[in-house]
């Protein structure tokens, strides 16, 4: 790709950036705080795609870019690379998650029961237009139940494995710095299991949905049933230099397990991400379920969907086409004109080929 060096337009470039930023006005601490508290799901989505769990920074990135999500994620990923790595937290298991919501579409009576938690699944989708005419929309308060629900619930898959419905995956005992890290290493194929799951975790939500939906509609080999969908908070357990393990706080996570029942045993697809983002984890788990044995070049093949749902790379590639391609384009035009001239010359002098 031959670009020309951008020269002489420095003032124009400076002013174009000012125009972009003038549109959203001053970025104030109040605006960042309001963004953070008013849009937790947007914050979660951005944090998941950035692989950086920091609500204030995510809110700042959104405020600073005026909600241009690709720019916001890029800002956060760039910031993330500047930070030192202090610790690798201990692994979390499903049954230790502080669970807000856990449902199964496959089994009604899962151990621990269905926990609906916060959701709009059964809501009427009605726009609160009264707010635009000056009213304040105050959400109805939640009626607390008499006894608090338990914080921890067993994994549905573990219960199924115990009942011989499918063979549980072999536990991966890799720890600490030995865990492959997609933020540091290139994605190579066939991908390591850790790289696949990490790529899906930081993938762009819309991209994962598009390819996951294609698989769900029938362009994949396996139809998913949501075995378990969980919104939870995970303890970040780190170790003090003196050796004491302690929780440095909790991060919101979502995870989905989908199953396929076409064969004699259930097959499992899994995805998890930082933040609460149900659509993404269900679509991603569907892709994971479909990846095994997928045809080369199909949208459910791992290489295809991992490459094409990488939001920073794909959006960056897409917008790079705006940069001046004058030299390459001029060269294609020259080749086109040349081909045309040659064709025209052939038509005018239709001389017989010289005899051999």
């Amino acid at each position: 790709m031959a670009y020309v060096a951008t020269r002489g337009g420095e003032n124009a470039i400076e002013q174009s950036q000012r125009l972009f930023r003038a549109e959203m006005g001053a970025v104030t601490p109040e605006r960042v705080a309001e963004t953070r508290s008013a849009m937790p799901y947007l914050i979660d989505r951005v944090m998941g795609e950035a692989s950086l769990y920091e609500e204030d920074l995510a809110a700042l990135a959104l405020a600073q870019t005026g909600g241009e999500l690709y720019e916001a994620v890029l800002l956060l990923r760039a910031w993330r690379t500047t930070q030192p790595r202090l610790q690798v937290a201990a692994p979390v298991t499903q049954d230790r998650l502080f669970t807000h919501r856990r449902i199964s579409a496959a089994f009604k009576d899962i151990p621990g029961g269905q926990v609906l938690g916060p959701t709009l699944d059964y809501a009427h989708r009605i726009l609160a237009t009264e707010v635009l005419s000056g009213d304040t929309h105050i959400p109805e308060p939640v009626n607390p139940s008499h006894s608090p629900a338990p914080a921890h619930y067993p994994s549905v898959a573990a219960w199924q494995a115990a009942n011989d419905l499918f063979s549980a995956p072999v536990p991966d005992t890799t720890l600490g710095n030995d865990i492959p890290d997609i933020t540091r290493e290139p994605l190579l194929f066939p991908a390591k299991r850790a790289h696949s799951l990490q790529s899906l975790a930081r993938a762009e939500t819309g991209g994962v949905l598009a390819l996951g939906y294609a698989a769900q509609r029938g362009y994949g080999q396996a139809h998913p049933t949501v075995n378990e969908l969980r919104l939870a908070e995970a303890e970040v357990v780190v170790r003090h230099p003196r050796g004491t393990a302690f929780s440095a706080g909790r991060v919101k996570i979502s995870q989905a397990e989908v199953v396929n029942n076409k064969r004699d045993q259930l097959e499992l697809g899994f995805a998890a991400t930082l933040g609460w983002n149900e659509v993404k984890v269900i679509a991603a788990a569907t892709l994971d379920l479909n990846a095994r044995g997928a045809e080369k070049g199909s949208a459910t093949e791992e290489e295809f969907f991992l490459y094409h749902t990488e939001g920073v790379e794909s959006s960056g590639f897409c917008i790079h086409f705006k940069l001046p391609h004058y030299v390459t384009f001029q060269s294609s035009l020259d080749a086109m004109r040349d081909a045309r001239a040659q064709r025209a010359a052939k038509v005018t002098d239709k001389q017989p080929e010289p005899a051999e």
């Binding site: 930023r21 970025v27 030192p84 790595r85 202090l86 610790q87 690798v88 710095n177």
Partner: protein
Amino acid sequence: MGQQPQPSEFEARTNAVYEALMWALSRPGLVRNLPDRGVAQVVETLIDMECAVHCDTEEMRGPIGRCGASIVDPEQADHLFFARQPEPEILRQLRMGTDLHPEDGATLIGTARLGEGSRLRLTGPGCDGPVAIAVKGLSPAFWAERARISRYPLGFEMFLIDGDRVVGVPRSVQVEVL
């Protein structure tokens, strides 16, 4: 968005050391000045919890451990600190990287006297013609062994530290003992 983040004192210090080390590798054989004396500044600059480090003295274990790194045998180490003269045999245990990942090659940090001892001639990328230096503290057998096992792009980098001065010898450079 205008304001630049301000580096902390630690960041400013280690950035200066890092810059000196980068210049040392970019211009092999030319002496660069470090902000401070000794190897401790290199430890705090290069070593963090993701490093696997080997050292030949007990005193180094403290500073390395405080950076969170694990202390390992030479074969597993990505950084090796030598306070004493390393034997040529140690080179055969060093990580040299692989063709796919040459960056896995080790970095060896040793103390030496610069400007006295064996005269060396360095040639290769970054050397403006042959560069001559004198180094005391590494035997001719060490350099011969380095030449024997080096197969670019596989290899290892070296920093030789004398007080507040450092010389870099990257894997891409050929070293002759004169």
